[in-house]
Symmetry: C2
Subunit: 346 residues, 2 copies
Amino acid sequence: SRSINLAVIPGDGIGQEVVAEGLKVLSAVLPQDVKLETKDYDFGARRYHATGETLTDADLDALKQHDAILLGAIGDPSVPSGVLERGFLLKLRFAFDHHVNLRPSKLLPGVATPLAGEPSIDFVVVREGTEGPYTGNGGTIRKGTPHEVATEVSVNTAFGVERVVRDAFARAQARPRKKLALIHKNNVLTFAGHLWTNIFNQVAEEFPEVTTEYMHVDAATIYLVTQPERFDVIVTDNLFGDIITDLAAAVSGGIGVAASGNINPSGEYPSMFEPVHGSAPDIAGQGKADPTATVLSVALLLRHLGYDAEATRIEEAVSADLAERTGKPARSTTEIGDALAVRVAG
Amino acid sequence: SRSINLAVIPGDGIGQEVVAEGLKVLSAVLPQDVKLETKDYDFGARRYHATGETLTDADLDALKQHDAILLGAIGDPSVPSGVLERGFLLKLRFAFDHHVNLRPSKLLPGVATPLAGEPSIDFVVVREGTEGPYTGNGGTIRKGTPHEVATEVSVNTAFGVERVVRDAFARAQARPRKKLALIHKNNVLTFAGHLWTNIFNQVAEEFPEVTTEYMHVDAATIYLVTQPERFDVIVTDNLFGDIITDLAAAVSGGIGVAASGNINPSGEYPSMFEPVHGSAPDIAGQGKADPTATVLSVALLLRHLGYDAEATRIEEAVSADLAERTGKPARSTTEIGDALAVRVAG
Ligand SMILES: CC(C)[C@H](C(=O)O)[C@@H](O)C(=O)O
Ligand SMILES: CC(C)[C@H](C(=O)O)[C@@H](O)C(=O)O
């Protein structure tokens, strides 16, 4: 019989609330014969304040035993900027080699967008997750003096670029429109830019059916607000991906519905799924957070584990739920989770 | 008697056409007693193909004699990506220490925006122009092999950050709302991020009337499309500034009306003014380009040289022209330039 052994990291702020609903929908959608085991991990601000730890080697060993990880949100104003990001979120992505950071953007019927007209938005960003300016390379000299110099080093390898570019081409090939855009800044960041562009062009030869284009990151932000329908699959560097996926989330319904997967395609390590939004401490504990982004992250998780039909059921339930929201009073976190659980079970 | 000794770099593509209109409006707005001298410089793709040169030491010496520089656009698909950018545009910014890259965003009445509703947009971005990932530091090893590694080094100095942060605070102080936002990614780029954040907080103490906030660059893209009215003055790093000013241009009427100044505030070197748009080779030579961004760059140039009344006259003429455009047939580059010249003279 089948089973899913899931690590659950509710985390900080609204993380707890939204993860509870994600798990509710997951339980409701799974067939009887699938055994779901979950184990909670108490990472985040509370543990950091209590122990000074963010993510230890023992933690990584424990997490590694799971089939996948569901994360709510990590981050709290009581912790200095960078400590949990570098000490937990990025540490986990690097340790588990989550090199494919998958972020779909789809504007669903009935969902508000800040854009005028009725743009049709349905694309997916494949963001590199283990290189670029995120490696933590760099440093500071003469800190705090008028002669301080701080550097950040973006590290890009043929190995790292090729595997994510290849993943993106395969995804583009599998979609009806078969389009792939490389987003970089190769006219200024010429060293990394040439590496990305050359590998992109090489791999393109193996996918003759995929239509490709190159776009500078600055120009891409313009197209994301003026012609978002132009995009099908986007592949990009870690930092550019961070920036454009927030913009993509904003135009396609907001971070309340933006899901993401930090994927290790080889399966050597468990992949992690999380809403794009953060811990939103200002509304934490009030039952106001929209769990939809987490529920959609559960769908990505299921698809990653091979439960395609269940993933699709969740996505359809979310579409139906969103389509009926207009004009109705706001519901609580639990109410939305309950409604989605009913729909997927039905 | 007063005089302006201007270096004119029409450049590539639509550069020629829009600069001609910029100069037309400049001549029309200047009082009789101001002597305008201009000298054309033939930089860009043509010169590169003919001589292999982009910007020589002798060119820099010649440009240095001028009071200011007006540039149309540089760039052509016939030149490999990066050659003119690094060899001309960035070389000039670095050689003339253009550390304040000023990019105002104002949504004028009658101008279309891709955003729904009627957002009120009036802010200015102060982008650092001589540091960050733009320095060209970095390199490549094992080029073209499966073991290639390419790095890009972002260099940030207390000297460089403090002067641009101070400039931005002074601009915020001089505006009615007196608000300044620092945009960075200090939770990931912790070395550079701490330098920027610490200096920002230190300088803030000297400007108690200025309200400050910090925002990650990814979150900033969300606010730029959902709450653009939130911004008054923004200060940011060279690369983040490149990205968000294109987005800012897109939401506030498009790059057809986005002006910029590459400013050396000390006056040791001439400052350069240019539209944010590029050379647009697809529409070059057809009289289709909108010269408004260049005309607004001329206004920034005049204000920089102390001709405040004339700068304001140009801005008012542009506002009036834009307000009357809705529903009218499109005009040619020359027709728009003529109309603006008549308005500023009138
Ligand atoms: C919190 C931060 C480290 C993270 C990132 O920059 O990747 C976040 O912005 C994201 O996009 O997942
Ligand atoms: C053309 C390029 C070098 C330039 C930049 O990146 O600064 C442009 O995008 C700009 O914003 O002026």
